[in-house]
Symmetry: C2
Subunit: 229 residues, 2 copies
DNA sequence: ATTTAGATTTCGGCG
DNA sequence: CGCCGAAGTCTAAAT
């Protein structure tokens, strides 16, 4: 990892073209050849960057300025990209050995939400029981297939954030499932930690029930269960 | 901007929980209080981070190790987040004045594609003429509203990458537009630089035509036009 | 290898 | 200020 602070001007050409006027920025040059250009603000996203695999070549302009050219080969996904960094002045330049990172361990994403709801289906609707998780269909798996108090089928789509696409997805499942005479009628529940108003409206329009899920409360239920055994 | 290279262990708790075992990493501390944790690989996304606004507080553990705690307040968007960085050894620690960045200038995104197609609708279908761009409807603007050689209405949805949600979006527009006796029948064209197979199948199933757009060729047409005048 | 769905998505525009 | 759509999205799992 090489860390450079420099006054520079940057031009990118590839999937789009972008330009950064001359200013002082941080350049992060990683071991795999990738390059990140950061300013002193914004979020985690760099102003500009080059994804690996790519190669950096150092050159000199006609005016005698240092110029770095970072290039990647054209792949099936996109055209060949070029990042041109024209360096006016280097304020800082250091090299560091970091080694391979052991990697990130995550917990609390959609999969966990689905697991918790599978164990506590009654939090979605009274009398609901689980038939199976990841119920397979021709167009993909339904997150939770359940049965309600009347013995009728209920398909549940779980999302961390409930938006229109999720409602569309559940609608496609319901359309398909309701063609099966052994299952029908199948109704739907759209479950998410947070449901956007537009998604709620669309769901209502299609007779789909919305359920807001409290992740912490579910986790609490789960821990309570654990203590019983 | 403060750049730190250190052996550290990191724990994040907020929208999810995440853990990074002890290893050497780069810590980028920006002027707005945000923190980025980078390893020597991966893409532009940090292993872990904290978005502004947030505050960093330095402390010491019972074992005498330095500990940084970065916290942000709970907002309407999410709960309060905490990033705990336990520092084992600092290899490098420098401070740099960067100033405000003049910002990025982009060119070549969906808006541009839409503009080019608006000027050259016949590349989508022979005899097609533009009625208007961003044609307003109750559920949002249709990218391009056109008329074909027979004088019938054609709604065009423009995407850089054509996926299922784009087809769903166009379907919703068509359903609404076809309720209008003055417009109907309205057919649809789904235009994108690249169309995914599943999106193509769904479009075909709904009688929507797909058009793959060559951005460079369109830009060429545009330049040719310019030269005529 | 290709495709698809999820993300601590972030970012910008408009009402 | 909140909602909505686009992104050089990236990434990991499934096909």
């Amino acid at each position: 990892m090489r860390l450079v602070v420099a006054r520079c001007q940057i031009d990118y050409a590839g999937r789009l073209t972008a330009h950064l006027p001359m200013a002082t920025r941080v350049l992060m040059l990683k071991a795999d050849g990738s390059v990140l250009v950061h300013s002193d603000g914004g979020s985690y996203k760099p102003l500009n960057w080059m994804s690996p695999p790519c190669t950096l070549r150092e050159g000199t302009t006609d005016e005698g300025q240092v110029e770095w050219t970072v290039t990647s080969r054209a792949t099936s996904k996109g055209p060949d990209d070029t990042l041109r960094i024209l360096i006016d002045e280097i304020h800082h330049d250091t090299q560091h050995e970091l080694g391979i990172d052991p990697g990130l361990q995550k917990d609390g994403v959609e999969k966990h939400l689905q697991e918790l709801l599978a164990e506590h289906p009654t939090t979605l609707a009274p009398g609901l029981t689980l038939v199976r998780r990841e119920y397979p269909t021709a167009i993909g798996p339904v997150d939770l297939m359940c049965r309600d108090a009347n013995g009728e089928s209920v398909a549940v789509e779980v999302k961390r954030r409930g938006e229109i696409d999720g409602v569309e997805q559940l609608t496609r499942y319901l359309e398909l499932l309701n063609r099966d005479p052994l299952l029908r009628p199948v109704r739907g529940i759209f479950a998410a930690q947070e449901i956007k108003p537009q998604a709620r409206v669309l769901a209502g329009d299609r007779g789909i029930m919305c359920a807001t899920v409290d992740y912490d409360a579910l986790r609490g239920l789960d821990n309570a269960d654990d203590r019983l055994f």
